[in-house]
C-alpha cells in the first residue's frame, strides 16, 4: 500500500536518515491482529463450506434445498422482522418523548436505558426465562385476572424469543432515534402549525419524514443484529424452533459438520453484509455502535 505522509519523505539535508515511522505504520499491529485472527479464520471457515466433505456446492444445495433448514431461515427472518417492528413501534414514541421531556425526567429514563443495556446479557435473558415460564409471574397474573384459564406457553418457543429479543434491542433503536429527533429544529414544526397543519398532519407529513433516516437506520441495525443473535434464542427458544445462529453452532458443536457450518455462516454473512450495503447506499454513514 502506498503511503503519502507529510513526514514520510526523507529530508534533503539529512540523506542518511532512516525511514521514519509513518502514520500508516501505526495501524499495522491492529491490521495484523485483524488479518490473522479475523479475516483469515473466517475465510478458512467459508472455504470449508465448499471443500468438506467433498469439493463442490453440495452443502449449499442441502442447506437451501431442505425444508428443515428453510424453516429455520423463515423463523430467523420472521422473528427478526417482528422484533424490529415492535421495537420501532415502541421506540419511536419513547425517543420522541425523551427528546422533548424536561431534562431531569429524561436523565432518569436514560439511566434505566443504560442500566438495561449494560446489564449482563445472560442475567437479562435469565430474568425472562423465569418470568415467562409456565408457573412464572406473567402467567400467574393473567390467570389471576381471569384473562386465561390455562397457563400460556410463553417460553421455549418463538414467542419467548421475540419478547426477550425485543427487550434487548429496544435501547438500540431508542438511542439513535433520540439523536435524530433531538436534532430537528422545533421551529420547523411551529412553521408547519402556522402553515395550517393540525397535529396529525404535522406528525405524518413533517415529524415522521424528518425522523425517517434515523428510524430506517435503527431498524436495519436491529434487524441485522437479530438475524445473527445466538444467546437469547438458544435460551428462550425451543429445540424445535431454531434460529440461524443456533444452527451454525449446532453444525459445529454437536454434529462436527464444518462444511454445513461454513455454508450456514456464509449465508448469514452474505445477508448481513448485503443489508449493511443497503444502509450505506441509502444513508451514507455507518451508524453503528449506538453512539
Amino acid at each position: 500500500m502506498v503511503s503519502q505522509t507529510e513526514t514520510g519523505s526523507g529530508r534533503p539535508y539529512s540523506p542518511a536518515q532512516v525511514r521514519r515511522l509513518t502514520d500508516f505504520d501505526l495501524t499495522l499491529p491492529a491490521l495484523g491482529l485483524l488479518i490473522l485472527f479475523f479475516v483469515l479464520p473466517v475465510a478458512m471457515l467459508l472455504t470449508r463450506s465448499v471443500t468438506e466433505p467433498v469439493p463442490g456446492l453440495g452443502n449449499y444445495a442441502e442447506l437451501l434445498g431442505s425444508s428443515t433448514y428453510l424453516r429455520i431461515f423463515a423463523n430467523t427472518f420472521i422473528v427478526s422482522g417482528l422484533v424490529t417492528l415492535v421495537s420501532l413501534l415502541i421506540g419511536f414514541p419513547v425517543a420522541w418523548a425523551l427528546a422533548i421531556m424536561p431534562n431531569r425526567a429524561a436523565s432518569i429514563v436514560f439511566a434505566i436505558l443504560l442500566l438495561s443495556m449494560w446489564t449482563n446479557l445472560l442475567a437479562r435473558t435469565y430474568a425472562w426465562m423465569v418470568l415467562l415460564q409456565r408457573t412464572g409471574v406473567i402467567n400467574k397474573m393473567l390467570l389471576g385476572m381471569g384473562l386465561i384459564d390455562t397457563p400460556l406457553p410463553l417460553v421455549n418457543n418463538l414467542t419467548g424469543v421475540t419478547i426477550g429479543m425485543t427487550y434487548i434491542m429496544l435501547p438500540f433503536i431508542i438511542l439513535p432515534l433520540y439523536g435524530v429527533i433531538r436534532k430537528i429544529d422545533p421551529a420547523i414544526l411551529q412553521a408547519a402549525a402556522l402553515c395550517g397543519a393540525n397535529r396529525w398532519q404535522s406528525l405524518v407529513r413533517v415529524l415522521l419524514p424528518l425522523a425517517m433516516p434515523g428510524m430506517a437506520a435503527g431498524a436495519l441495525m436491529v434487524f441485522v443484529m437479530s438475524l445473527g443473535y445466538f444467546v437469547t434464542p438458544a435460551l428462550l427458544g425451543g429445540t424445535s424452533n431454531m434460529m440461524l445462529a443456533e444452527l451454525i453452532a449446532q453444525f459445529v458443536q454437536s454434529l462436527v459438520n464444518w462444511g454445513m457450518g461454513g455454508a450456514a455462516a456464509l449465508v448469514l454473512l452474505v445477508v448481513t453484509l448485503a443489508l449493511y450495503a443497503v444502509q450505506l447506499r441509502f444513508f451514507g454513514t455507518n451508524r453503528m455502535g449506538g453512539r
Binding site: 503511503s3 473466517v42 438495561s116 449482563n120 458443536q253 455462516a265 448469514l268
Partner: protein, 266 residues
Amino acid sequence: MLLNFDRLGWWKLVLIGITLLTTAFLLLPILFIAALSFGSSQWLIFPPPAWTLRWYQELLEDPRWLDSAWTSFRIAIIVTVLSVLLGLVTSFGLNRGRFLFREALKALFLTPMILPVVVLAVALYAFFLQIGLNGTLTGFVISHLVLALPFSILSITNALEGFDKSIEDAAVLCGASPFEAKIRVTLPAISHGVFSAAIFSFLTSWDEVVVAIFMASPTLQTLPVKVWSTLRQDLTPVVAAASTLLILLTVLLMVLVAIVRKGLKS
C-alpha cells in the same frame, strides 16, 4: 408544536404513558431478579414465601463460580489494556494519516463489531483447534480483543476528530518532542474517549458469551460460560444471585462513569 412538551395537549399523556410502560418493561425484570435472589423458593415463586441469603452462600462457597469470575476478570483486564493501547496507536495512525485506502482500512477495523458474533466464534474455534489455542487464556484474550478493538478505535478516533491538532503543534513548538506532546497534551485532551474505550472494552470481554462458549475448556471457563452451562441444566436461584451481583457491578460501573465524566468536564 409536536416538539414542545408543554403544548402537546392530551398527546403528552399518551407519550408519557408509553414511556412509563417502556421504562417499567426495561427496569422490572432486573429488579425482579434481584428480589428473587433473596427469595427462599427453589422454584423461584414470586412473591417469595420467605427471605434468605442461602443462594449467595451457595454461590460464594462454590469454587467454580469464583474461579470463573476470576478468569473473566483477568481476561477482561488484559483485553482492556491491550485494546486501549492498540486502539490509541491505531487511532493516531487513522486520524493523522493521509494514505490511500484510509477509509477502507477504518471500515475493516470496525467490521468485527457489526458481523454476527457466532460466525467469528465458529471461525476462531476452528482456527484455534488447529493451532492449539483453544481453551487457553491467550485464546480468550485474542478473541475478545478482536471484538473489543472496534469499540476502542471508534471511541478514540471520535475523540481525536474533536481535538484540534494545532494544540499538539503548539506543544511541539513550545519545545515538547512529538511524543511528549502527545502524552502531555493530546492524551489528557482525549481522555474521555480513552475512558469510554476502556469501559467498552472491559464490558465487551466481561459479558462476552458466544465466543467464550466455544473457547472454554473444562479447566478454563469464564463467568458467562458458567452461567450459560448452569442455565442449560436448570433455573436455579444461584443464577439469580450471580445475576444480582452482575447487576450491582453494572450500577457501580455507571456511577463510576458518571463520576469520571463529571470530573473530566470540570
